[in-house]
Subunit: 428 residues, 2 copies
Amino acid sequence: MTQPLRLGIAGLGTVGTGVIKIVRQKANLLAARTGRPIEISAVSARNRDKDRGVPISGYAWEDDPVALATRDDVDVFVELMGGSDGPAKAATEAAIAAGKDVVTANKAMLAVHGQALAEAAEKAGHVIRFEAAVAGGIPVVKALTEGLAGNEITRVMGVMNGTCNYILTRMEDAGLPYEKVFAEADALGYLEADPNLDVGGIDAGHKLSLLAAIAFGTQVDFDAVELEGIQKLSIDDIRTAASLGYRIKLLGVAQMTGRGLEQRMSPCLVPADSPIGQLQGGTNMVVLEGDSVGQIVMRGAGAGEGPTASAVMSDIIEIARGTRLTTFGQPAAGLEKARPARATAPAPYYLRMILNDRPGAMAKIATVLGEAGISIDRMRQTRHDSASAPVVIVTHKTSRDALDAALAAFGGTGVVLGEPVAIRIERV
Amino acid sequence: MTQPLRLGIAGLGTVGTGVIKIVRQKANLLAARTGRPIEISAVSARNRDKDRGVPISGYAWEDDPVALATRDDVDVFVELMGGSDGPAKAATEAAIAAGKDVVTANKAMLAVHGQALAEAAEKAGHVIRFEAAVAGGIPVVKALTEGLAGNEITRVMGVMNGTCNYILTRMEDAGLPYEKVFAEADALGYLEADPNLDVGGIDAGHKLSLLAAIAFGTQVDFDAVELEGIQKLSIDDIRTAASLGYRIKLLGVAQMTGRGLEQRMSPCLVPADSPIGQLQGGTNMVVLEGDSVGQIVMRGAGAGEGPTASAVMSDIIEIARGTRLTTFGQPAAGLEKARPARATAPAPYYLRMILNDRPGAMAKIATVLGEAGISIDRMRQTRHDSASAPVVIVTHKTSRDALDAALAAFGGTGVVLGEPVAIRIERV
């Protein structure tokens, strides 16, 4: 196998540029590690003339990624355009139909169309690899698909959106409100074109659904992910959580339960001194739990040119070495859709609300909780000058149903002002 | 590829038993993930009649592992006996000669004979996989060989001997001296038959040399690892380090420098609040640094039935899926021996010594350090009742040569009682 592996790269943003740099600068290392040269035949992007700091004039140019994906001199179509539909999907489908392998960093496309694309690719005898789609440079797709393949996976967790983690870390460190830090992140170019993909938890939810498919041998089912973003988190919650020994993280959890597959991506309180609690800025962390291996924790950069290009390269190298894996770790045609289970596993909760400060207010709240079967671990009312009293309650383990019942009943007490905040406390 | 993959397992201790359990209990999962059944044809061990909690009467028995390794009904020889030479090596060589693939957990054998075995296997078109040989359940061989294969690796670090980490953690937590905790670990069965393999740093050094070979594309060279065990560490050092904000860990570091390949396994001070500093008990941690990916940290159980069997299974699954990788990530025949470099990269050091408590003693020490070009970051003499004064010094960055010169010169001052302790402080 000494003939070169020929790439067609669509999308020359940060990651695409990073991949070109590695292929150019590390030709000898890559050939030594794969036993064959890795070459770029052609590239495609929206703007041909942009200066990317790396010469592309030696590669054939295609305006149309579909044309690129189907070129005779391309063995592997490297899709780095992004977007769940549109050109990325059209070109990927065309590549598969034309008999190419596909390497992609596109979590949105795979979360929505992964099952159909995998079936098409596997039927045609071709592979789709997507290490760069989840947690940037952390080789977690490989760890889960291969390293832990002898395990029944019991749980997958992760902080997988660096932008959200940056915003939450910065809010705490600088004591700034969400809106202010969001504007900063925007100015720094940290946000997706549609910021809701980041702060709404969608991007991280895409990643979680891909890991869940591999972990539990089920069809990727992004629609079943319970999503909650970080937009409603206040600096008060972050400060209060800190004073209780917690940090708030946008945490993804996927686990197979007796009731079905639970997938959720939502803000959670985690112990401030836990590995996830200590995660700063754009760093990602993924926790994999298997029945034999116990807990494996992986940490690394979740985004950026180098880390993401590193992950893309690992897929290209895998194909160059002749390794042929199914997309999700077993034949896609045999995967079934899991019954989605609402995340009802009992957990302690953090509650924050403003009470109308009059005699008996606290008793009414305590009564509602007691009637819902929720017992209180810690409760504190902070000093206040106005007629409204901020109250924080940490409950013992309770079901989400009981909690929802209590939240609904608070309204009837006449003493709760505004909407109470309820955040799950996760054991990590 | 639907014919079964047939295993011959030599060595039925904890790990071998764990592998048999997984193959028996997860037949369907394994078949789904590999596309073919995984079966055990034959087993071999020292004692046929021992109750292992798992039935082995359905498998052919061989007293001689060489006979097992060469059976016609064995596709993969699974070597779980251990030991760098003797039956493990003989059977592995026989397996390769007989056209089998090899999966092994044997770090000692590969650290000493890995280059020759890899060349023989690759010449014959067969593979040797060894995920379980390094850091137990952590899929670090895969991460380094495949996940980070697009990187020039700049540094590999790790705490990879759970027994040593248990001893050090326990000394600090219980305030017990080394000898006492060593005896405890022995009673708990945590130590190798030759305990020096653990506490002398040899086992961890074996693992480091294997990672270094993959990382830097050089022949595995265990003899070049600078080894220092934990036997001389005193509870005083552990306490003093803690009071300065550090913990002592048996830390392996491999990096390619301008002077050659540096490989060392030795006790180091690391910040107590760093991920490595926080590592408790038998847990392992490996840090991989690459020019594109930055830093990847992996944590998990470094030993035990489940985690180690999980790693063995990942190699078996890899072979069942048809993946064919070279032993060390590139063809063994092309690997060259690296020039070994003494670990002379400057670092701060922790020094502890007992001074004869008389006027001018401290001045003499400070003069020696100054003349060696070593500047002092922190220095403290603790209260004492006798005529001997315990002194602790934290230096600024200095070379090992300068430090050795100072250590040698202390003897001539006439004020240093006994042997000073010097431990490197590592940035992690």
